[in-house]
Symmetry: C2
Subunit: 550 residues, 2 copies
Amino acid sequence: MLVVAAPAVPIVDTVQYSPEIVSLSGNCMSEASADAAPAVRARSGGRAGKRAGASSAFEQPPFRRLKRPFPPTPIVSEDQLEAIHLASLRVLSEIGLDVLHEDARRIMKEAGADVREGSERVRFDPAMILETIATAPSEFRVHARNADHSIDFGGDNLVFAQVASAPNCSDLDRGRRPGNQQDFRNLVKLAQMHNVISATGGYPVEPIDLHPSIRHLECIRDLATLTDKVFHIYSLGRERNLDGIEIARIANGLTADQLLDNPVCYTIINTNSPLKLDIPMMEGIIQMSSHGQLVIVTPFTLAGAMAPVTVAGAVVQQNAEALAGIAFTQMVRKGAPVGYGGFTSNVDMKSGAPAFGTPEYMKAQLLGGQLARRYGIPYRTSNTCAANAVDAQAAYESVFSLWGAVQGGGNFVLHSAGWLEGGLRASYEKTILDIDLLQMVTEFLSPLDLSEDALAVEAIRDVGPGGHFFGTQHTQDRYKTAFYAPILSDWRNFETWAEAGSPTAVEKANRVWKERLASYEAPAMDPARREELDAFVDRRVAEGGAPTDF
Amino acid sequence: MLVVAAPAVPIVDTVQYSPEIVSLSGNCMSEASADAAPAVRARSGGRAGKRAGASSAFEQPPFRRLKRPFPPTPIVSEDQLEAIHLASLRVLSEIGLDVLHEDARRIMKEAGADVREGSERVRFDPAMILETIATAPSEFRVHARNADHSIDFGGDNLVFAQVASAPNCSDLDRGRRPGNQQDFRNLVKLAQMHNVISATGGYPVEPIDLHPSIRHLECIRDLATLTDKVFHIYSLGRERNLDGIEIARIANGLTADQLLDNPVCYTIINTNSPLKLDIPMMEGIIQMSSHGQLVIVTPFTLAGAMAPVTVAGAVVQQNAEALAGIAFTQMVRKGAPVGYGGFTSNVDMKSGAPAFGTPEYMKAQLLGGQLARRYGIPYRTSNTCAANAVDAQAAYESVFSLWGAVQGGGNFVLHSAGWLEGGLRASYEKTILDIDLLQMVTEFLSPLDLSEDALAVEAIRDVGPGGHFFGTQHTQDRYKTAFYAPILSDWRNFETWAEAGSPTAVEKANRVWKERLASYEAPAMDPARREELDAFVDRRVAEGGAPTDF
């Protein structure tokens, strides 16, 4: 077994480039450079030279706990919603799910489910399901090690988490490649640096240069130290789950007892649609819920593939699977924090490939939100696209996804920054594009100033018919902060823009991520906590982590 | 004065290319070609060879009268809305507007407005304004010469109209250029061919090769014959207004009396913000409203330029100006059809250039809709962007605009297909992108199928845990029409897409508009009506149209 030693100084606050960049992009970048590459520094007007910390190296809106200021949009009537709900309950009681985890079946049986000897099939009585999920909290705080970055889940709260689980990553310079630790860390740093990203979502890209036995240890250590935001733990078996929870406990300075009532990390449980709950999932719920940590149950119900070809049918199945998983969290521990995840989309019927950010996806987002609200469970959805490039398609599929997320009453938007190619790729440029989109959505959702001054009747009187407001005191007092200043939008007139080489949004995004990443600084961490965390991870790595047979 | 003779055969149903294309694109296109250019035909797999008419030459969703199936999203509380309303009334009563048209001032005075001898300033009593606008209808049909294409304005109806009034146009082959008749006609044909575009919006691009004296005659003849959809008449003085109304009357086969209760065309009245109503605008309202035709009053209130720098203040001013214009339509003719137009956006405070599709724009869209609903007046908004290229920026600004339009309760979305560069350019590729976006929005707004069959409990039972739905009868019966088939979205996997040359959405749009335009066929028209229309236009052209002094 390959054991990759933990680096002596795991926090690297400069951008490092692999030798490939030099040959691919022709830029004068050097892996040995102790700072950002000269080519980048030259273009950034000296900004990369500023080492004043993440929050002051570039302008951005502050971290905030965003709330949706208006009611979500219902897509079906109450009667129609009830029909979907009842159909899901029929699936649970008449068809049931296959539960592969023996101990989980035992817990379900004790809770009143119909479990028969010698069969993995579990059927759930509708009344029992509804009674069981009733103990799930409808709104709660998930604590970050920096309390300022703790997030609220449920109600009108809206949290944006970074892309997760992409096997590949890409940028304009180096193209598409399998994930590695360098890219993993770079993307995690970008999540830390940007206030609009409230949490990381897992591994933004899978670092395949880390052996699977110790990958979770190195990655979760990075998530807990390169960021001070809430992070995710993959449910990959008991040993890894417990490692992850322990790292989160140490990073947050809590005792095991305190952990029980203070969620500090979360896991996504994707059911094996249709109607199957496998061993790692059930193990994940058992470990996370019994420790009081957040579980988000998200069926992966692609209409036409793992779910019926109709949106309504796919959501019926999504809802049945979600209810089963959510109920199980409450069987493990009453009151354990849990989220309802919706991920229903359609497939390209020509190729079977998943499609995202489609009208069907938006409908499923709204419908999923309506169901989650019916049960009083916080709702998770996503910012998705199927595009292969950061082009118009990537943008429209993402904004459609955000439209569905916001109007659907989404509380937690996973994959909100960086997702490309149906989740097969984390893109540096898409990360910047998404950050801009999320900041715009945040501004859209910020309450309007309706003070007497903002209504501006006196300013209108002062200017009068035929005048203009450019130079007025009312404008002078406000113009610097009056409007959201976008990262990418190019508002120059055509001639100036053409003279500048007709840059598109993705080209600007390429420049921005390099400039910004160069100014990354690790968030402060209590040295004792850091020492305890490193001691734990280093020991577990030395032990071989969670052994695999390859 | 240059008089351009009406062409003997004004309807050309093939794509014509100017000689520049050949040199610019290197394609083997010939202006003399009687059909689509060979290069295009080869790529389209023979589709361009089909001459079976617009609706069958390519697949698209049918023409429909779209209705928003859920309530619009309020952005402020009822109390807050009232505060904005009252601030607008204070502007109208305490500050007033300058009305440059003498006869309009007389009409206003007769209706009870405060008009003083020797002054252009007109002040409006709040009660009088509210009483006057109360006669405006809240929902009505605007008739197209093809009754199947008539549109409903107001209520939950949602109509998409083409881009209007761009001075320039562009496509990927020929780049950006001032508008001309050829491009004008091509864009109008694209509007006719696509069912999701319910109406044209004016001149999609200004044909500057037509002399202004007769431009309105040639253009409106084209709008009335190359399309059978509702069209717009620019308010450019009494003579042109009456020419336009007469062409619309003839095209629709109505008598002057019938016209009074049957709107068949519309005009957009942009106030000269701040607080000024000029002579052509007032003349436009007088002619259109007295003939029972639709007037959409749209203040052009850019926050920070022609309106206060705060969104709330800009909307207070927008609302005051809109109310004054709307009231004037009812003073001219009680019950005349009228729309409330919102166009408030912000400016780039660095350059003063208008910004579009911004968070501020979306807020103004929602707020404008809430005000329009308060008054029971149909609401017009737009699909805008400030991008210079059909890139990610163009896409996200447009989808944000559509988000604001739909959730804001927009009834009529002008500039919905083709707008680029803050309205300075109509783009062929953006037209196709927007058509795709509009079709996606339409699909999103289409009611979900919630039949027993669609809920699919039996299909879920048949497949059972661990199966898949690809080959099931339930899927087979539905897969062809289950999901919206996008025009541009490229859902191929990365490898296949890369092998195909990594095409972006805009490149595909370039191919699509050429293929589709090549299949244009003029809509049928009663020969007698056509003869009467040509006789009228030819006579007016021979008379010199509306003489100008240049």
